[in-house]
């Protein structure tokens, strides 16, 4: 009798009730994915098309064209020769160790994920900055997105869309989008109130205020968010490879199951190299903007 008293064992739900609850929820979701799965897949069709096209473009283009393009972009954004030289070295080493194709796959998916995260994240961040109500709603959702283990939200995505590139992109975006949202919100909230008042006093409309004052002044902070988003997207590469995303994650996954230490290390280092390149380039851009605003006289 005392063995199952409430003060000895935790008074938990009946086993059957719990199983029933799980079954009901899973069943509902399964039915949902059966009836709407095709429609949702069709919705993501253009995204898949673009992903495949972009990946093929990077893989099929001669390696030196891609390298030149990457270096040109790095220079335009960072205006630093040091970063360009570092980028070149990193890519040459990656190619030399036979990881060029996988790196191109990873780069294509990271680029697409980052672009999606920015197009969704910046407007959400702006909405959060404009309304405390929106912020109260969005903040806990972001907390969940950032702390929920990635494997958990892979399950419904895979149930709905199967394995492949699109579910991979969705998982990466969910994982990587919070920083850009948070820092857009923060950046806009930190814009100098006096300057905003001046914009109002000169009769700026809401849109003119946003595009002419708030976003430009928040840009360095938003860039820091984008930088974090890129880093988090790269961190998801291995997990995304578990649901069939091509790229540097695949060989790492193979190395885990077969205990190929060197293969794993090389591909891991390639991911690190990509991360450093993206990080330095985007940070240099942010710093360049910051300097422009804070120029303390060149006297």
């Amino acid at each position: 009798m005392a063995d199952n008293a409430w003060w000895v064992t935790f008074p938990q739900m009946e086993r059957e009730t719990l199983v029933g609850f799980r079954k009901a929820l899973d069943g509902t979701y399964r039915n949902f994915s059966r009836s709407y799965g095709d429609a949702i897949e069709a919705f993501f069709e253009p995204l898949l098309f673009f992903l495949v096209w972009f990946e093929r473009l990077l893989i099929n283009a001669p390696w030196w064209v891609v390298l030149l393009a990457v270096c040109a972009l790095a220079y335009l954004v960072s205006r630093s020769w040091k970063i360009v030289v570092g980028t070149t070295m990193a890519f040459l080493l990656i190619g030399f160790f036979g990881m060029w194709k996988d790196t191109m796959s990873t780069m294509s998916i990271i680029t697409v994920c980052t672009l999606i995260a920015i197009t969704l994240g910046v407007p959400i961040g702006i909405a959060m900055a404009r309304s405390d109500k929106v912020r109260t709603i969005v903040t806990p959702i972001l907390d969940v997105m950032q702390t929920m283990p990635a494997f958990v939200y892979l399950i419904p995505v895979v149930m709905l869309l199967g394995i492949g590139k699109v579910p991979g992109v969705i998982a990466v975006v969910i994982y990587a989008i919070p920083p850009v949202i948070r820092l857009t919100n923060l950046g806009i909230r930190l814009v100098d109130k006096d300057v905003l008042e001046a914009a109002d006093a000169f009769g700026a409309s809401g849109w003119q205020r946003l595009t002419g004052v708030q976003i430009p002044l928040a840009l360095p902070t938003i860039m820091a968010g984008i930088n974090q988003t890129i880093m988090m997207a790269l961190a998801m590469v291995v997990i995304a490879s578990m649901i069939g995303v091509q790229g540097l994650g695949q060989p790492v996954l193979r190395s885990i199951t077969n205990q190929y230490f060197t293969l794993g290390l090389l591909n891991g280092l390639a991911i690190v190299a990509l991360a450093i390149v993206f990080d330095r380039v985007s940070q240099a851009y942010g710093r360049r903007m910051q300097l422009q605003y804070e120029r303390i006289g060149n006297v």
Partner: protein, 348 residues
């Protein structure tokens, strides 16, 4: 006197609380402290009535917390009034809808700020052109207008610099240029020169006065500095605890402060540069002699005239050059150093 441009009628502002209930209490004459303690509301402005004629400089002077910055922000409705009305050119500012208000701010009234409030990501040229850009003017048009103002305001060679590269005085020139570039009728200056060094401040006052002789804007100028108020104001309203305690021409305020508070203020003022001879002369006794002194010249100028002519008394003349009174060196000296010259009417 020219026509009236801005008419502030019974303006009240209470921060916090429900406007209607609070206004009832204010009308019943509730004290500021009582309102704060019992209702958690701050009474910023109480029954402000002020008429500002066109093309004049109206100074509003008060110490910090007197409500002067709140008052000026009601003119272009950066702050919504709790009660009362502001009529500009016969139109009620609180009654404007959003688009009318935007037009009013774009075309009629522009503002210069104490902290400059320049856009750090725009160059001097872009800052000055900001109001015009907001108005949607073509780039060429903006460029020509801005170039004219850059030259006018002494910023040649700085057009492509960023605000943070300039000194405070230079930055406020940009602020002034930005406000004038839209060619508004009304210029609202909120402690525009208070953040500047004394020498630069006087320089900026000179620039403003020089521009005003030509541009003839209606200017509302907020300051906490009495010297500045006396120097540039055509008329001064003194604000204390959200109420206007005295209003009048600079010399009236110096000669007849309405209470001890204002008397304390004006005590250390250089009276020779504020008071006009006409206010302290003796009515003409026949056969006035000595050099002619126009009635509206300042005491200091009159003293110089007498000294140069080595005369003891001068003849004060009116606008048409007719003698209307006499003034002696002794009169001048007394008026310059004494708090209340006998000739000034004692006011309550």
């Amino acid at each position: 006197m020219s026509e009236q441009k801005i008419d502030i009628r019974g303006l009240c502002k209470v921060f916090g609380g429900a406007a209607k209930t609070v206004m009832q209490l204010v009308r019943e004459g509730i004290g500021k402290q009582e309102l704060l303690d019992d209702h958690n509301c701050v009474l910023a402005l109480r029954d402000i009535n002020l008429r500002i004629p066109a093309e004049r400089i109206q100074v509003v002077m008060g110490l910090s917390g007197s409500g002067k910055s709140t008052l000026i922000r009601h003119i272009n409705r950066l702050i919504e009034p709790t009660a009362g009305d502001i009529i500009v050119d016969g139109q009620s500012v609180p009654g404007m809808d959003a688009s009318a208000l935007r037009d009013f701010r774009r075309n009629t009234a522009s503002m210069v700020f104490q902290g400059f409030a320049l856009m750090p990501h725009r160059t001097v040229r872009e800052n000055i052109g900001y109001g015009l850009k907001i108005r949607g003017l073509a780039r060429d048009e903006i460029d020509t207008r801005v170039s004219r103002w850059i030259e006018r305001i002494g910023l040649d060679g700085f057009a492509d610099r960023f605000p943070t590269e300039l000194s405070g005085g230079m930055q406020q020139r940009v602020g002034l240029g930005r406000a004038l570039a839209t060619d508004p009728d009304i210029l609202l200056m909120d402690e525009a020169f208070s953040a500047l060094d004394p020498v630069i401040r006087v320089e900026m006052q000179d620039i403003l006065l020089a521009l005003q002789t030509e541009l003839k804007k209606t200017i509302m100028f907020i300051t906490h500095d009495l010297d500045e108020a006396l120097r540039i104001g055509d008329d001064i309203a003194i604000l204390r605890d959200g109420e206007i305690v005295q209003q009048g021409a600079p010399q009236d305020i110096v000669l007849a402060p309405s209470d001890d508070y204002i008397a304390e203020f004006v005590k250390d003022i250089n009276r020779g540069r504020v008071i006009q001879v006409g206010r302290v002369m003796r009515p003409v006794s026949d056969g006035a002699t000595g050099p002619e002194i126009p009635h509206d010249s300042l005491l200091e100028a009159a003293a110089i005239t007498l000294a140069e002519a080595t005369a003891d008394t001068g003849t004060v003349t009116d606008a048409d050059g007719r003698p209307v009174g006499t003034i002696s060196r002794g009169d001048l000296m007394a008026a310059m150093v004494m708090a209340t010259p006998e000739s000034a009417p004692a006011k309550v």
